[in-house]
Structure formats: structure tokens, C-alpha cells
């Protein structure tokens, strides 16, 4: 058994890598970049394209978007895997991971203005000792933070000036009259351009050269600051993340889900906000589905062929065929609308003024009845839960009915009846127990779907759950958020499948792991 589970868990790793790889490639291949996400979240407000270009360049630099897709994927995988290789990241007091800064990229066409790129010198030991004294103390932390700040500023300045070089290069190429050096997206093909000799007589060249030299100087500064930061990191000013296994080679750390582009907030925070909402609704909805669908199916099975069976079947199938969108609109239009029933709140999960209410229902200060916080919460949950529940009866109750009918015809039931076992005992002890098997597996496969949330229900009742989070992430091409979401659902799915197999074996002794 342990052997089997271990094998399955190990098999999960390549499966997960495969899933995330496909999703990552899909996102990378989809048209439109992250710039759109930035503009959308600005509410369509006007701002200069130049500013967006600089902002985009910075984001690209921070997330390494200017590198080949496969490298980006590797980088993402490194962050997400709990097993880390190489030196451990540091954890800053605010909980952010500080990893070794990436090399500063080369500026475009630098060969036109310089013969070689100046390499930054590592800091001498005396210099390190002078700058980063007492790592871990407050002064040490401050010195390190200053180094981080200087590096970020220098790198940002370099990225900005590099973006200007590319802009100028584009103008230069247009003036030069060599459109073949531009890509379909009107970006200069830097590597191809570097191989040709420039026409230094053009008047656009002067500006390009000036900007190019600026960028070279900015790069040198950034590289220098990077060396200082690396030297600072080596003194370990912050505690290290995770647990070390082999120092400097292997360590374990919790996965880092990154920061969502579109909202500029850590993905983990966004998930932590959305997940409880979705789970709350689903954890209420699913017991209700089971408690109604299973007895309903049993009833239909025991009264097979009678009007009870027919009515039960008809009802669940009819409910199943009502689309959630329609049900939501009907609920809003009749159950909520004060012109009709006026029975339920319109949106959200918390009522106006419910923070001021007492916990339990009762009389308030003005001697009027008040529903209280708890009841208010339940009242707000009724319609969303209803919309999630009604369509779920059909499959489960039909499944129950079919499984029970199959067992009714089995030999052991006939034997039990022949022995004189009461009808009730036959149904509950023998038939029902044996019919539970498919229901267990079904629950386990339904559970991961709960995490994904229901887009329609969340939209109609303004519930900020997982469904709306994922849809928004996809619309804005928010890579980190989409990946975190799919990874989470994939992991839970794989675990649930494993759980299903284990439960199957536990419930049915005939199944073994051999």
C-alpha cells in the first residue's frame, strides 16, 4: 500500500510539470502582451505611450519576460518547486523573498559605440566588511536595504535608458530605410542589427549614439550596484528561507507563487481572499446536494417503476436542464426584486449594517427585532447556494438509483431475502452499503471542481470567489495568477484521484493494490 502511494505521488511530479508546461506555453503563445493588462487596470486613462513602454520594460526585466520562453518556464518552476537548488533565498522582514539578482542584460547595439562591455569588479573584502557590518543587527539590515534600494534604482534607470535606445534605434532604422531590420511588430531585430555596420552620417545617428553611451554608463552603474548587493547578500543580513539539506546545494522551501501583474499584489494574498469565499459556499452546497440526492435516488430505486420514481426522475432532470444563468436572473428578478417577492438580499455576502448587529438574532437596543450577524450571513448565502445546488441532484441521484437497482438484482440480496431479513435491513445494510462505492469516487472527483468556483453564480450575486479571479486573470493575461490557479487545481485534482483509489480499496476489499 505504502509502496503504491509512493509510486503514485512520484508519478504526480512529471504529470504536474507536464500540465504547467502546457499552460505556460499556451499563455506565452497567446497574442497580446502584459501591456494590455496594465492599460485595462488603469481604467483606460490616458497616459503617454513612452511611459507605458518604460513601465513595460521594467516589468519585463523584473519577471524576465525578455528571455526565451523555456528559460522563463524554468525560472517559474524553480520558484514553485519546494525543492530548491543552489544558495537559499533570503526572507526580508516583510516576508518577501530576496533572491540573487539576475545579470544586467546587454544594451542593444552597444558594439556600435564601444569595443567591450566593462565588467563590474566584485567588492573587495575590506569594502564588504566596511559596508555590511554586523549582519542581522538593525544597522546591518539598514545597510543592506540601502544596497537593495541603490541596486533597484540603478537597474530601473538602466532599463529606462535602454528602452529609450530601442526607441531611438527604431527611428534610426526608419530613417536609414532598412525596414527588413524591423520585426512584424515594428521592433528592431537587435541581433541582426548588431552584425551590420551603422551609417554614421545620418543625423539620427547622433541621438542614437548619445543615448547608447548613456545606456552603457547606466549599465555599468547597475552592474556595480549588483556586485555590491551580491556582496551584501553573502553576509546574510536576513534569515534564509526554508530548511537547508545540503548547505549551498539543496534546500526545501515553500513555493513562491509570485506577484500578480494586473493587481500588483502577491498571488498568495489574492488566493487567500478568494478561496475561503468559494469554499464556504461549496461546503454548504455539497452536503445539501448529497443529503437530498442520495435519499431521493434510494427512494426511486425502491419504488422502481411507480409514479414516485417517475416524478423524482423528472424533477431532478428538469432542474438539471435549467441553466445557472437563467436561474440567477430569475432569482434576481423575482426573489430579490422588491417589486415581487423581496425575500433575499441582492448581492454580496455581508449585509448593510451587519457589523453593528449582535451575533445572534434578537431584540436590538431600540426594542425592534434584528436578525443578527449570523442569520444575516446565512440569509445572504441562500440564493448563491441554491443556484449551485439545484443542478447537482440529477447525476448523483441517478447514479444512486442505478447502483442500488444493480445490487437489488444481485444473488446476495435474494439470499438475504430468502433468509428472512427484513426489507429495511436489506436496503440499508446490504444494498445501500454496496451502492456507496461509485458515490465515494464521485465526491472525490467533484471536490477539485469546487476550488475552481462558479463564474456565473459569482457574477450574478457579486461574490468575489475563485471563478471571477481566474476569469479576470485570463482576460488580463496575468500569467502568475493563471499559473498559480491551474497549479493549485491540478495538484488538488491529482491528490483527489489518488484519494479516490485509496478509498475505493478501503470500501471494497476485493480491490487490491497489486
Amino acid at each position: 500500500m505504502v509502496n503504491y502511494i509512493l509510486r503514485r505521488v512520484l508519478l504526480m511530479v512529471p504529470t504536474l510539470v507536464g500540465i504547467t508546461f502546457v499552460v505556460f506555453m499556451l499563455i506565452a503563445a497567446s497574442p497580446g502582451g502584459i501591456g494590455a493588462g496594465l492599460l485595462v487596470s488603469a481604467g483606460g486613462a490616458m497616459q503617454s505611450q513612452n511611459a507605458i513602454a518604460i513601465q513595460k520594460a521594467k516589468l519585463e526585466d523584473r519577471y524576465g519576460l525578455n528571455e526565451p520562453v523555456i528559460v522563463q518556464y524554468g525560472r517559474w518552476l524553480r520558484r514553485i518547486l519546494p525543492i530548491k537548488f543552489g544558495t537559499r533565498d533570503l526572507v526580508s522582514p516583510s516576508g518577501e523573498l530576496v533572491s540573487r539578482p539576475r545579470p544586467v542584460p546587454e544594451p542593444a547595439v552597444w558594439r556600435w559605440f564601444a569595443t567591450e562591455l566593462k565588467q563590474a569588479e566584485p567588492l573587495s573584502e575590506e569594502e564588504v566588511a566596511r559596508r555590511f557590518t554586523n549582519p542581522g543587527s538593525e544597522a546591518g539590515t539598514r545597510a543592506f536595504q540601502a544596497a537593495v534600494g541603490e541596486y533597484v534604482t540603478a537597474r530601473a534607470a538602466y532599463i529606462a535608458s535602454e528602452a529609450l535606445v530601442r526607441d531611438s534605434l527604431k527611428r534610426y532604422i526608419e530613417a536609414w530605410g532598412k525596414p527588413e531590420l524591423l520585426t512584424r511588430k515594428q521592433e528592431p531585430r537587435v541581433s541582426a542589427i548588431s552584425r551590420v555596420e551603422p551609417d554614421r552620417t545620418l543625423k539620427e545617428y547622433a541621438e542614437l549614439e548619445r543615448l547608447g553611451r548613456d545606456a552603457l554608463a547606466a549599465r555599468e552603474l547597475a552592474a556595480q550596484k549588483r556586485e555590491a548587493l551580491i556582496a551584501g547578500m553573502s553576509t546574510k543580513p536576513y534569515p534564509q528561507a526554508g530548511i537547508g539539506i545540503i548547505p549551498g546545494v539543496l534546500s526545501l522551501a515553500p513555493p513562491d507563487l509570485g506577484i500578480a501583474f494586473s493587481r500588483g499584489r502577491p498571488v498568495i494574498d489574492l488566493l487567500a481572499e478568494a478561496l475561503p469565499v468559494t469554499l464556504l459556499i461549496n461546503f454548504i452546497a455539497f452536503p445539501i446536494i448529497y443529503m437530498i440526492a442520495i435519499p431521493g435516488g434510494m427512494l426511486a430505486a425502491t419504488r422502481k417503476g411507480t409514479w414516485v420514481d417517475l416524478a423524482q426522475g423528472l424533477t431532478v432532470i428538469a432542474l438539471y436542464s435549467v441553466p445557472v444563468v437563467l436561474a440567477g436572473v430569475i432569482a434576481q428578478g423575482f426573489l430579490v426584486n422588491p417589486d415581487y417577492l423581496d425575500a433575499f438580499p441582492a448581492a454580496g455576502l455581508i449585509g448593510k449594517g451587519s457589523e453593528q448587529m449582535a451575533f445572534m438574532p434578537g431584540a436590538n437596543g431600540a426594542c425592534a427585532w434584528e436578525r443578527g450577524w449570523l442569520l444575516d450571513r446565512v440569509w445572504h448565502l441562500v440564493l448563491p447556494v441554491l443556484c449551485l445546488v439545484y443542478g447537482g441532484f440529477a447525476i448523483l441521484s441517478k447514479q444512486t438509483r442505478a447502483a442500488m437497482l444493480e445490487n437489488f438484482n444481485a444473488d446476495y440480496v435474494r439470499t438475504a431475502k430468502a433468509k428472512g431479513v427484513s426489507n429495511r435491513d436489506v436496503i440499508f445494510r446490504h444494498v445501500f452499503r454496496n451502492s456507496l462505492l461509485p458515490l465515494i469516487t464521485m465526491f472525490v472527483t467533484i471536490f477539485p471542481a469546487m476550488l475552481a468556483g462558479s463564474v456565473v453564480v459569482e457574477r450574478v450575486f457579486s461574490i468575489p470567489g475563485m471563478g471571477s479571479l481566474l476569469i479576470e486573470a485570463i482576460n488580463l493575461r496575468d500569467r502568475e495568477l493563471i499559473l498559480a490557479n491551474t497549479t493549485m487545481v491540478a495538484v488538488v485534482n491529482l491528490l483527489a484521484l489518488l484519494l479516490a483509489d485509496i478509498l475505493y480499496a478501503t470500501a471494497d476489499p476485493r480491490i487490491t493494490f497489486k
Binding site: 497574442p31 497580446g32 486613462a45 505611450q49 513601465q55 516583510s94 527604431k170 451575533f359 457579486s462
Partner: protein, 644 residues
């Protein structure tokens, strides 16, 4: 079969579960009580400091009427400009740079004083519903429009646009001087300004906000930074109440940008590291008439919750009547209307159809106030014609006559009737209606098919083979692609309307819906024949350079229509450097006339703001600037509360 799971076990399990649940609920309830008492305590400490300040003032003696601040000893010395009517140092101009006109500002107060209205009551809550969820509230970092609207109530700026006249009116500033060459601005703060925690607001806070918060590369305020980076070079505090702004170049937007900078309290924000600020969702402490209710940095406001602002009891200006303002988000439009009907919301933005149906319903006469007005944030929607090359080939729209024919072809009034239920008016140009730049002599081109056909014929497009479609001399049929962002119902309706209208004059239109991020690429690469879009605005006057100047064709600028007009370029360059608002208005009027003649855009509609307002909420005035929440008060059926 010995240890079978029986009914007894089941009951036991359920009991344990219920017990665990009730313990958890009890703890939850404890938490609620805790939070409640904490908020009471913070309110109490705020009151205490207020009382202390009052006592202090009483001890030092009160000056009755006229009001004279710390500089009263120097005596009134009105030199130039008119002295302020009150507000302390009326006329003292020792702070000013000599020889430059001082623009004295009237005392700060609401445009329509709620305390002069009949039936004014203090207290009560006002709930407004937004269509989208705000992601975060931290100033300069929050990027959505809703959060920015809310900032106006929580933060103060040196000056704000007057709701009625749309001219800059001093809020924190009692006076300022603008360099006639447009290279600097010096502002004088009013006396007695303070943040919502009672600490004084000084010129140093302004410098800190600009240089160490907004321009700090580590803070993710790139959006604001990109606007201010090109405009303000340096902010220098001269003394506690005087601050100097240095500009990079002579540009008319500089003054508004400098005066419109939110002032953050240095003593609060400097406690946080940039990482804390980037990560935070609700770090919002300012000096406006309202303050965020949950200011504890360890338990910040975070998205699904409503944003609740409460009256800032430490406010330095006239305090607002409302006790709290609550902002909810409801995405579904039916749900929004239901929330309004149920009384869960006092103000919603209805869909056009809802607005038209309900405002015609006599039953609704007393249930809501219907507001429908155009204001400075309205903007306009348009169809842009690609006047340049697409993939190396000129589009048919490079010809001005064809563009004009397109405008004649579209019955925009019918469009507004069909698509927006008749809400809104036909746009005539890029300038906000009623602004100094808006050219009154321009009327939108009428709907005239004959004229359209004639113009097309002049441009060489007519039906040469009798198939009902028009062709050029070489027999190529007039056919173009209409690109629009998919997902929105409105854009699809516009596209279909254009397609049908074009068919009437014999043009075939292919619809090309695209996802928003792909649509962005169309614009950047000029890979379209025509697209539809809307421009929004956040101020009464905006710089037309990035949309209409031919320089903005390069570098993927916002002149995606690739419209090149020397006259327009000249006017834009001239207007941007004109510091006098009236003269600038003249220039923008001429620019609008050029746009009207040349039609790089077919202007479709100016969308008005629509609001349904609970009639219990009084003093809701639709201003040219928008809405002024600090003026609202609840009257009517509410039980009166003691005024304080």
C-alpha cells in the same frame, strides 16, 4: 463486524462537530467584539486629542471674528491681489517672490453649503455602489478609477477644480504664484492644516510625498511617476507653509499637476518600507473630510469588503454632515438595481435601458432621483479611421473625403437611440462640451446619404458594374475591416450598425472582433482599417498632443489613426506652451475646427453620467465636475440625530 460504524457513532460525530463549530463561532464573535472596542478606542483617542487642542486654544485666548492666525503680529499688508476674506494671514505676502502676481484664494468650503439647506441633519450613512471591485486603496499605487474617485474625499491637494467653474480653487493653499514663463510655482498653505490623526500638515509633507514617496523607484507608483516625471523637476519647502515647485519645461498642464498632488502624511507613510507599501491594500491616511475606518496597518482593508469612510473629526475645514460613506461593489446590473430598490444602496449607476424605463415610470417618481448630466469626466466615444498605411498599403481612409462620407453615412442620433436607448448626445469634437476649448460654432455633421455618396464619387468610388457595391477606377470593391473589442455588447452593436449603414451606400464591411489585449496590438501596430474606442478624462482640459499630434504616430504613440495635419500640429505646439487659459481655449477651438473638417475620428457620443439617487439623500448636485460627496446629507424619514 465488531466495530461497525453505527447510528450512535454518527450522532457522536455530529455532536463533536456542532461543538467545534460553536466554539469557533464564539471565538469569531469575540473577535468582532474586540474589533468594535478597538474602533471605539481609536475614536476616543481622536476625540481626546481634539479636546486637548481646543483646551490649548482656550488657554491661549480666542480671537473672536475676523480670525487672525499666527502672522497677525506682522499686520495685514495687502500688496497685490485681494486679501482673503478670512483664514488667518489675510494679505501677508512676505512669503511670495517679489514682482509676481499672487493669486489669493477664497476660504475653503463646499460649493453648496449643506448647513444652509433646509432640513439638514448630521449623521447617517450613505452607500454608493460601484460596478467593479477596487483592488487596493493606497494612493499613487491604486490604479483603478474608483479608488481614485475615493481619494478625493480622503486626501487634500493644494487646489481642486471648482465643481461649478472648473477653475483651480485653493484647498490646502490660500494663495499661489505662477511664473509668467511657466517654469515654477510657489504655493502658500493655509494655517492650521492637519491630517486625520491630528498632526499638522506642512510643506515638508508635500516635498516628502513627491520626492520620497512617488519618485521612489522602489514603490510601484510608476503610473503616477510617469505623469509627474516629465513635468515637475523639484519640490522645495521654503518654510512650514510655503512650497516651491520647479518645472522641467513650459507646459500648461504643469500648474494643475502640481496643485493637484495628493499630500501624504510623512510621519505615517515613512514608517513603512517600500515592500510594505507595495504589498499593502489599504494604507490610506490623509487630510480630507473623510478618513478610512480601518487604518490599522496590521489589519488593512482588503478587497471583498466594503470600503467604509467615516467623518474625519480632525478635519481642518468645514466638516461634512454624513457620518459614514460606504462603497460597495456589485457587478451585475440587475443586482445593482435590486440593491437600490431594497434600500441597500443610496446611489447606483444604472444601465441606459434601466434609466430610460424607470425614469418614464410614474411609480418611480418618488422612489428615486434621476440624474443625467455631462461632466468633465464624460469623455467621448468614436470610430477612428486609419489615415495612414496599414501593412505598407494606404487604406481608403487616407482620403479626407472618404472619412467625411463615412460620418455622413452614419445616423448617429439613431445610433444613440438604438444602442444606448437615447441616452447621451452626439459628440462633435474632442473638447468637453461647455469648456473654454469647445467650439460653439461647430455642429455635428448631419446624417445625409446623398452627400455621402457624392463625396465617395468625388473620391473615385462608385458603382461601375451595377452590382450594388461601389468600386474604384480599377474595379476593386470598397471593402474594409471594422475592428472592435469583443466581450462588450455595446461594441458589437456599434459594429453591426456600421456594417448595416455601409451596406446602404454599397460598401461591404467585415467585422473583426478581438480580445482586448490583441486589440491593443492592432492599435500599436496600426493594423486596422477602423476601430472603435472611447477616451475618458479626469480633468476639464487635457493635452491633445499624444492623440492628435503627428509626433505621436511614431513610437507606437496614441495617434493610432496616423492622422497628420500640419495646421493641427502647429496649434497643438502653440497651445501647450500657452499659459493663459483664455488664449489657450481659443487655440483649442481652432484645433477642434480642424478636427471637424478633417474627421480622423467620427465622433459618436458623449456619454453622460447616469445616477439613481435615494430621495432621502439631499443636496446631491450634478456639477460639471461630478459629484461632491462631502456635501450630501440624509434628511427625510430618518430620525433626527443631535448635531455636533
Amino acid at each position: 463486524m465488531q466495530n461497525r460504524f453505527g447510528l450512535k457513532d454518527f450522532v457522536l460525530f455530529v455532536l463533536v462537530g456542532v461543538l467545534a463549530l460553536s466554539i469557533w463561532m464564539r471565538m469569531f464573535q469575540q473577535d468582532r467584539e474586540w474589533r468594535k472596542s478597538e474602533s471605539v478606542l481609536s475614536k476616543l483617542s481622536s476625540l481626546e486629542s481634539q479636546v486637548a487642542r481646543l483646551e490649548n486654544k482656550l488657554d491661549t485666548g480666542v480671537v473672536v471674528a475676523g480670525g487672525s492666525g499666527p502672522s497677525s503680529t506682522s499686520g495685514p499688508a495687502p500688496t497685490d491681489g485681494k486679501p482673503a476674506a478670512n483664514g488667518g494671514s489675510g494679505g501677508d505676502s512676505s512669503w511670495a517672490r517679489p514682482g509676481v502676481k499672487i493669486e489669493w484664494q477664497p476660504p475653503w468650503g463646499p460649493a453648496t453649503d449643506p448647513f444652509k439647506q433646509p432640513g439638514v441633519q448630521v449623521g447617517g450613512e450613505f452607500t454608493e455602489v460601484y460596478e467593479a471591485q477596487m483592488a487596493r486603496l493606497t494612493p499613487f499605487i491604486a490604479s483603478d478609477v474608483y479608488a481614485r474617485r475615493l481619494h478625493e474625499f480622503v486626501f487634500s491637494t493644494l487646489a481642486v477644480y471648482d465643481p461649478v467653474t472648473l477653475k483651480m480653487r485653493g484647498q490646502l493653499a490660500e494663495a499661489w504664484q505662477v511664473d509668467p514663463n511657466g517654469l515654477w510655482l510657489r504655493a502658500r498653505l493655509r494655517p492650521g492644516l492637519r491630517f486625520s490623526d491630528g498632526k499638522p500638515l506642512t510643506a515638508e509633507d508635500i516635498r516628502w510625498t513627491f520626492h520620497e514617496f512617488m519618485m521612489n523607484e522602489e514603490i510601484e507608483a510608476e503610473r503616477s511617476r510617469s505623469i509627474y516625471r516629465d513635468c515637475i523637476a523639484k519640490v522645495t519647502p521654503i518654510d512650514d507653509r510655503t512650497v516651491d515647485f520647479e518645472f522641467k519645461e513650459r507646459l500648461f498642464t504643469n500648474v494643475d499637476n502640481a496643485l493637484g498632488l495628493f499630500v501624504l502624511p510623512k510621519h505615517i507613510y515613512s514608517q513603512f518600507s517600500p515592500a510594505d507599501i507595495n504589498r499593502g491594500t489599504g494604507l490610506m491616511v490623509g487630510s480630507g473630510p473623510f478618513r478610512l475606518r480601518d487604518v490599522d496597518p496590521n489589519r488593512q482593508w482588503a478587497p471583498p469588503a466594503d470600503v467604509v469612510l467615516e467623518r474625519n473629526e480632525q478635519y481642518w475645514g468645514p466638516k461634512p454632515p454624513l457620518a459614514t460613506i460606504r462603497f460597495k461593489s456589485i457587478q451585475d446590473e440587475t443586482a445593482r438595481l435590486n440593491a437600490f430598490k431594497r434600500g441597500d444602496a443610496d446611489m447606483i449607476t444604472p444601465a441606459s435601458t434601466q434609466f430610460v424605463t424607470l425614469s418614464g415610470d410614474p411609480e418611480w417618481k418618488d422612489r428615486a432621483r434621476f440624474l443625467n448630466w455631462v461632466n468633465m469626466r464624460s469623455g467621448y466615444s468614436f470610430i477612428a479611421w486609419n489615415c495612414g498605411e496599414r501593412a505598407g498599403k494606404l487604406t481608403p481612409f487616407h482620403d479626407k473625403r472618404v472619412r467625411l462620407a463615412m460620418t455622413y453615412m452614419l445616423d448617429r442620433e439613431k445610433m444613440i437611440r438604438d444602442i444606448w436607448s437615447g441616452v447621451g448626445q452626439v459628440a462633435k469634437g474632442n473638447q468637453p462640451l461647455g469648456s473654454p476649448g469647445s467650439n460653439q460654432s461647430i455642429q455635428p455633421w448631419p446624417y445625409d446619404l446623398a452627400k455621402s455618396r457624392q463625396l465617395l464619387k468625388e473620391a473615385g468610388w462608385e458603382d461601375r458594374n451595377g452590382d450594388g457595391l461601389i468600386e474604384d477606377a480599377r474595379g476593386n470593391a470598397f471593402e474594409w475591416e471594422f475592428s472592435f473589442a469583443s466581450g462588450g455588447e455595446i461594441a458589437l452593436k456599434i459594429a453591426n450598425f456600421v456594417k448595416d449603414s455601409a451596406a446602404v451606400v454599397g460598401i461591404r464591411v467585415k467585422l473583426r472582433p478581438a480580445d482586448w489585449s490583441v486589440y491593443q496590438d492592432f492599435m500599436k501596430l496600426r493594423d486596422f482599417d477602423s476601430i472603435t474606442l472611447g477616451w475618458g478624462a479626469s480633468s476639464p482640459e487635457s493635452d491633445p498632443r499624444q492623440i492628435f499630434h503627428s509626433d505621436a504616430i511614431k513610437n507606437q504613440g496614441d495617434n493610432f489613426a496616423q492622422w497628420k495635419n500640419e495646421e493641427a500640429d502647429r496649434l497643438i505646439d502653440e497651445g501647450r506652451r500657452e499659459m493663459d487659459a483664455a488664449k489657450r481655449g481659443q487655440i483649442w477651438q481652432r484645433l477642434e475646427a480642424v478636427l471637424h473638417e478633417d474627421q480622423p475620428y467620427t465622433f459618436i457620443r458623449v456619454p453622460p453620467w447616469l445616477r439613481l439617487v435615494n430621495p432621502e439623500v439631499k443636496n446631491v448636485n450634478p456639477y460639471p465636475k461630478g459629484l461632491e460627496h462631502p456635501e450630501f446629507f440624509r434628511g427625510g424619514s430618518q430620525s433626527p440625530k443631535p448635531a455636533n
